[in-house]
Each structure stands twice: as C-alpha cells, then as structure tokens.
C-alpha cells in the first residue's frame, strides 16, 4: 500500500480538512486505487518524449506591463465576510 491512513490524515491536515478517524482507511484505499490506476502510465515507453505540462499547445501568453485599475475597493470588499471598510478582517493570525 502506497498511502497509509496516517498519510491521509496528514494530507487532510495540510489541506485544512476535518476528517473522521474511522474513514481514514476508506480514503487510503481510494487514494491507492487512484495511484494504481495512474501507474498504468508507467508501462508506456516514454523514452525521448518531452514532458507535457499542458494539453494546450504553445507557450504561455504574455501581457504588456501596463497598470490599470478596474475595480473599486468597495466592490472587492463586498464579497468579504468581514471588513472595516479598508481591510479584509480575519481571525487573529499571531
């Protein structure tokens, strides 16, 4: 088994996901199923094939370095759960 239940717990913690202890085995089995399936790719001979980072062809598009302001602070803060009119307000960090 590649992924242990402990590893599932760690990955969940890194992703800030709460997870029931009794489901760790289930997820570990599912993770391993996915990884085993992906391992099929390892059977393909990729000698001399360039790595493909995206199914889209060509390089990334570039943008001219020009500053623009299209949004007001009010609009931006409108979607925040809590603001003081100038900042996003979040639970105390330190």
């Amino acid at each position: 088994m590649k992924v242990s239940p402990q590893e599932v717990a760690r990955i969940a913690a890194l992703a800030r996901l709460g997870i029931d202890q009794d489901r760790l085995d289930t997820f570990a089995a599912q993770f391993n199923g996915i990884l085993d399936y992906m391992d099929l790719l390892a059977q393909v001979d990729t000698e001399g094939v360039e790595p493909l980072y995206s199914p889209v062809d060509g390089p990334t598009r570039l943008r001219e370095d020009k500053a623009e302001s299209r949004h007001s602070r009010e609009e931006l803060l409108a979607s925040a759960p809590e603001t003081d009119g100038a900042h996003f307000v979040v639970p105390k960090i330190v």
Binding site: P59, L62, E64, D65
Partner: protein, 476 residues
C-alpha cells in the same frame, strides 16, 4: 572541542520594478491606501486566470544573464501550497523543478580577497499581501496591495563561511539588481529581502550540519548580526552536548537575538505541482540575445576599469560605483575634464555631501556633468577660488546653468594676473610702512594683515595662493 566553520546560503527576494503585478494589471505602487491596488485575480476570486507580465520575464532574464546563469528556454510555474490569510489563492505561484535560470555566480570580496559564490537558481514568483495584527482586538487585517507583485528569488549555493561573506554577497546582488534598474533595492520597504540558511560543522568535515533558516532581517547590518548570533548560538549548543534543531528562526533586531518561530507556522509541506492555469514560459534565443546586448557594463567590470584605467584608489572606486547614476555622472564629468582624481575628489566631497543633505538623487541634479566638470576645472586652474567654486556648485546644483557665465555675473573670477596683483601688493606695502618694518623685524603674523588689505583692494578676488607668494617675495 572541535573548531567549527559556518556554512551559509542565502535566499534573496527582489521585487521587480514593473508597473503592474505579475499576473494582473493592478499597480505595484508602494504606500497606497489598503486594498486599492487589488482586482479579482490578485484577490484570488474563483474563476479568474493569471496572465504573465512580459516585462517581469525580461527583468528576470536580465538578472540571470548578469550573474552568468543558464536560462531555461522552457520554464514552468508551479503552485506552492500553504494557507495564510494574506495569500488569497491558498498557493503561491512560483517555479519549482523548471525554474527560469540555473547555475550562475557572483564574485565577492569580504576583505580576504576575491571569492566566487555560486548561484543555484533564479525563479519568478508572486508576492503575498500584508497582515496587520491588532493588539486590542482578536482579529488581523489583510491588505492585498502587495499580493501578486512580481519577485525573483535568487538562491545561492551554501558557499559562504562567515557573516561578513554573507553581507558582501548580499551587497553584490543588491548592487546588480539596482544597477540593472530591475529592483529599487529598498530593504526597509521589503523590496529587497533575504533569508539565510545557517549551519556549522567541524573544520574538515564534508557533511553539512543541521541548518536553521533565519528570517526578518531588513538591513545589511542585521543580516550580518543575525548570522553572527546564530553561529554563536549553534556553537554553544554543540559545546553543551546539545544538537541543532532544524527550524525557522526570526531575528529580533532590538535584542540582537534569533528565536524560533512557533512550530505551527513552519509545518510546511508545500506539495508543489505545475500550475495548470499557466502554460510553460518560452524564452526565445532572440530575446536572450537582445537582452544580453542591452545589458549595461556591470558594477564589477566598471570598478575594475575605474581602478586600472582611471587610477583611482579602491575606496574612491567603491563609493563612485555604489550607484549607477552616480557612476554615470562621474564618467560624463571626466569625459568633459580629463582629471579623474580631481573630479573624483569633488564627487566624493561636495557632490555626495549635497546629495545627502538634500535627499536628491544625482539623476535629478540640475547641474549637468559637464557643468560640474567646468567648476572643478575653474578651481584647478585658479580661475576661481576653492571657496567660490563651492559656492558656485551650491547655487548651480539646484538651479543649473553655465559655471563660466555664473562666475562672470557674480564677479567670482579670481585675479590671477601676477602683474595686476603685484601692483596691488606694492600699493598696500607703500601705504603701510610701519607694518612692513614690523614684519621685517620678525612680526610675521602681519602676513594676514597684508593679505587682508590686498583682498579688500581687489574686492576679494585675488588668487590667495598667488597673493601669498607675491607678498612673501616682496617682504623677503
């Protein structure tokens, strides 16, 4: 107890001086009202897509070429995953296994002769926002103005062995980025910052010791102090039979110590993977050739040339090449008056003092380098006195203008014509026979009196050096 040596590597972040952010068109201006340079892209709103800033790529390639890195013709952005409120996407867009550039170096001199420090890699990434922590309330405030600002991270090899070498390396990088004009180099505002990896090992041992990562050092001096403290701390630990724990430590500049960050904040496992929102960046041969051709003469090369071709002493060279604008100004002045040392003396005294006093950059000085050179020449040739030269410089520094015309208009031209001065001296001596008698009897302090009289007669325009010579000769 074994003798230890320190092993130091630096990770330097330089904010690129672009107008707009790395992946959106928001302004990168510092010091704006909170959250006014923010859009849905840099605020991490769902459904937005990043579009890469062409100039940021250019600047990053310029740096790579300036320090001799190999530019990866194809490089890839990757997501560095961690949660922090000033990182709205939940990941930083950085580069991982295919960075922009690899394998360069800079040469430093920390006092023991030249030493090459390797550069492992240079990659592009975006900056996070800023959090302000309230003392009174149980909340933090997030300002995303800085979020998305383009950075390059320059990672060194663990080649440095002392705090002084680390500082010299940091200064060398600072001088290159500011010289190229790709970063303003402001350490206080955080546009140029550095983390240090520090470990120690017994001299002669090949394996590295356990390292700590130092953060929060916002000046060259603090980088040196923090590393020196950390080396001593690690030596004490080992001497007491303890062990160094791998951790991130923050420098406290007031107390001059480092202390460990809380464990929670450093439980990092970034789980990098290629960012599917961004296609690979391709750097063309043409782009590299064009940028290479446009690179200015770099500080190290210019320093060498100032020393060898202009014959300037090392301290003067260091001061004159600390800043590209200053260095360019000096070169232009020497082109107008080919007396490198004399022009250098004026640059390092009058010019630097005035730049410091006024807070004006040399690029904004109203006096053209040719005018500056003319003042130095007029003083050297005795056309004006040293004092008049200084006064003239003070006036023209702010207002600009032609020194020759200024000297004429303000009657600063010195009387350096010996015949005219001799006549004036003779007149003064003839009018003061008693003083002449006293002087010849040994009261040589009267020299000042004679000089004063002639100066009054010539409205202060007599060449003081010449005047002294004439009086001495007449009374001798």
């Amino acid at each position: 107890m074994p003798v230890y040596e320190a092993v130091i590597g630096l990770e330097v972040h330089a904010q690129l001086r672009t107008e707009s952010k790395l992946f959106c068109a928001c302004s990168t201006r510092f010091g704006q009202e909170p959250n006014t340079n923010v859009c849905p892209v840099c605020a991490g709103m769902p459904g937005t897509l990043p579009v890469l800033n062409a100039r940021a790529v250019e600047y990053a390639v310029m740096m790579a070429l300036a320090v001799g890195c190999r530019v990866n013709r194809v490089n890839v952005f990757a997501r560095k995953n961690y949660f922090y409120p000033d990182l709205p996407l939940g990941y930083q867009i950085s580069q991982f296994d295919l960075p922009l550039a690899e394998g360069g170096s800079v040469t430093i001199d920390a006092g023991a002769g030249p030493k090459v420090v390797g550069i492992t890699r240079i990659h592009m990434e975006n900056d996070a926002g800023k959090s302000i922590h309230s003392q009174a309330e149980n909340v933090s405030f997030v300002d995303l103005n800085r979020a998305g600002t383009p950075l390059i991270e320059i990672v060194s090899e663990p080649d440095m062995r002392s705090p002084e070498e680390a500082e010299a390396y940091l200064r060398a990088l600072h001088s290159v980025v500011t010289w190229l004009g790709i970063c303003d180099g402001n350490m206080e505002e955080g546009s140029f910052r550095c983390d240090a990896n520090v470990s120690i090992r017994p001299v002669g041992q090949r394996e590295f010791g356990t390292r700590t990562e130092l953060k929060n050092m916002n000046s060259f001096r603090n980088v040196r102090r923090a590393i020196a403290y950390e080396i001593a701390r690690q030596e004490d630990l080992l001497a007491d039979g303890g062990a160094v724990v791998q951790q991130t430590r923050l420098f406290d500049a007031d107390k001059g110590v480092t202390h460990a960050m809380r464990g929670k904040e450093e439980a990092h496992d970034y789980r990098y993977y290629p960012d599917p929102d961004l296609l690979p960046v391709e750097i063309s041969e043409t782009m590299i050739a064009d940028l290479r051709a446009a690179l200015p003469e770099l500080p190290a090369a210019r320093r060498a040339r100032f020393e060898s071709a202009l014959g300037l002493p090392p301290e003067a060279v260091a001061a004159l090449t600390a800043d590209r604008a200053l260095s360019d100004y000096y070169e232009a002045a020497v082109a107008a008056y080919d007396e490198p040392r004399k022009v250098a003396n004026w640059m390092l005294s009058e010019m630097l003092r005035r730049l410091n006093d006024t807070g004006v950059g040399v690029a904004d000085c109203a006096l053209a380098p040719e005018g500056f050179a003319a003042i130095v020449r007029m003083v050297e040739e005795g056309a004006v006195s040293q004092k008049s030269g200084r006064d003239m410089f003070a006036a023209l520094f702010a207002g600009g203008g032609d020194p020759e015309a200024y000297a004429r208009e303000h009657g600063l031209a010195q009387v350096s014509d010996s015949a005219a001065l001799e006549a004036a001296v003779d007149a003064v001596l003839a009018a003061n026979p008693a003083e002449v008698e006293a002087y010849r009897a040994g009261k040589t302090k009267l020299m000042g009196f004679f000089v004063g009289q002639v100066m009054r007669a010539t409205k202060g325009q007599a060449n003081a050096k010449l005047l002294n010579e004439i009086i001495t000769a007449r009374l001798g």
